[in-house]
Amino acid sequence: MTEQPQPDSPVIPEAPVRRRTQRLSAVWIIPIVAALLGAWLVWQHYFLQGPTVQITFDTAEGIEAGKTVIQCRSVAVGLVQTVRLKEDLKGVITKVRIDRSAAELLHKDTRFWVVRARVGESGISGLSTLVSGSYIELDPGTSKEQAYAFEGLEEPPITPQGVPGLHVTLVADQAGSLGPGSSVTYKGLKAGKIESRTFDPVSGQVKFGAFIQGDYGKLITDKTHFWNVSGVDLRVGADGVRLRTGTLDSLISGGISFDVPPPGVPSQSAVDGQVFPLYESFDETQKVILHPRMTFLLLFENSVRGLTVGAPVEFRGIQVGTVTGISFAYVPDNPLFKVPVLISVDPAPITHNTLDDLAAITRNMENNVRRGLRATLKTGSLLTGQLFVDLDFLKDAPPAQVEEIAGYKTIPTISSGLGRLEDKIVGLLDKIQALPLDETVTNANGALAEIRDTAAQTKKLLGSDGTQALPGELKQSLSSLRETLSGFDQNSAFYRDLSQTLQDLNEAIRSIDSLSRTIERKPNSLLFGLPTGDVQPPKAKKP
């Protein structure tokens, strides 16, 4: 260290080469890139994440916040964020974060349900969730409207939305073995499924929601019949034993079949949600099946002997209902002891539409009663004396209307034709009976005695000598009369005189006739006489 240049100088000599300019170093790119990367991550996380939706369920069974995923066709599209109880403790509210890419699936009619392992009528489903845990399935709707709050379904729907097909409602009295998942077949081919089964407490019937898939839906018209093919149909008849079963599937879980009206029958394609009756069997489709919806009370003055529960109620020969009860118990306050008869009426066979609106049926009936609809008892069979209730319009019916008696709507009644005849005969007989026959007979007897007396006296009179002499005197009188008449013979003088007199009289009449004609022609001849020559009355001189 011989050379010691300014040891106290802190200035460090710069390297002469590779000397960089004082420009901003390229190393600053790194924090800028880091900042951009960080900003991008944050932006992606907070601004590119999808919407939060709220789904309510009855129970949170199988749903865990932060774990349960939302799937659509087995693709995860979201995650449950929070699960909490509703304020009224009657359910749970789950907040779900839906991926941004799946946000467009959130339509107003999008459906959510929890997929868990289920063993039910429609089979076993969701077995995979036993291992993987439950998840919430999303079934995208078709509505154009977006929504962010949903009611979760408790049961998975049978048919996903957007599947082409037709939804129909089938109405039956008995549910039988039919239920969600039961198949609908056409000619033995599977054409759809029953989706729901509900009991309608108003009409007391079971309603099935059925889905007819794809092109089978186009076969359904308003003339289509649906019938139950559940179980085994065994019949022993004159033509032997007949066994009819559906598919194995329908044997176990029940099934429905339908037909297509023969070609040429005018029919309209069914619309979504159309209501059809569900027949018990194929044979039943050939009969008229009534679905009585409205009960009416009839009060009959006559005896209802021969009328039984189940007897038909007909309108001009077409059955529209049945008698459902005959009892005095229906009307407690009944001083005239009219017989109360309950009937159930289905206006469908007449109006050709299934009116679900009971108020409309009642209104309809009220109008008809005002126009003269009356109920009558008629004899269905002269042999057995079976009666049925006939509804018909009576032309000269006394005005009446639907009244409410003991809580029932009543249709006014009139006596039947036979009944009326009976009434008249009875009335006539009563009148006859009321006649004072005994007195009349006594009087008649008296009269007869008098007649007898008169006859005896007459006989006595005839037997008297004077009477006996009468014929001789009569004979004498007649002969003298003949003599008198012979005086007027043509050859007698009297006749000749009379003839002469008549001729004179004739001439006189003729001259009077000519006189009257002359006077008519020339009235002045009365004064001046008939003109003889050319004598003219002088003309009046002019003044």
Partner: protein, 211 residues
Amino acid sequence: MAPKATVTAAEHGLALCHSCGTVQHVSQGQCPRCHAALHTRKPQSMERTIALAIAAAILYLPANLFPIMSSRGIGSNISNTIVGGVIYFWKMGSYPVAAIIFIASVVIPVLKLISITWLCIAVRTGKNPRTMTTLYRMTELIGRWSMVDVFVVAIMVAAVQFGSLMTVEPGAAALAFAGVVILTMLSAMSFDPRLIWDAARKKTTPTHKHP
């Protein structure tokens, strides 16, 4: 304590070759033995250190906000952030594991960023050069241990791939965290501890210019 006034190589125009270690006159520009460029101090040391530290600090946010690892298995789909993992292990009762993760993933990166900042300030102020040098040594030493977390994720992802039974996937934070660790290491490497002594020297001796 003020450093003793010593003679530095730089004052004599000498520089240590970074690659082969020979002492040469810096005016030569490049090492006559290995032809590496000769610098008296690490070039743009402060600038690089600060830039890399800032980048690390920025990446530290997503590293902690995003899940570092998500495990998808039977009936579960868990994704945890670093702090979430620490809490998870702590609740499970695995206090040592929780402590290791906490120290390696949270404490060390934060301490590193703080110490780098402190060193940068020290270069300006020139105070406590010896303490600062010790701090620098420790920073360089412990820095690599932060990679434990990244290694754990990498090993888990590679090892736990059992199809639908259990699958571990790295989260967005894993990449960010690896970036934090690498950037802090690079930042510490870019720092030239001689600058501390230069500053301390500059402080003790009044400024006067080289002629």
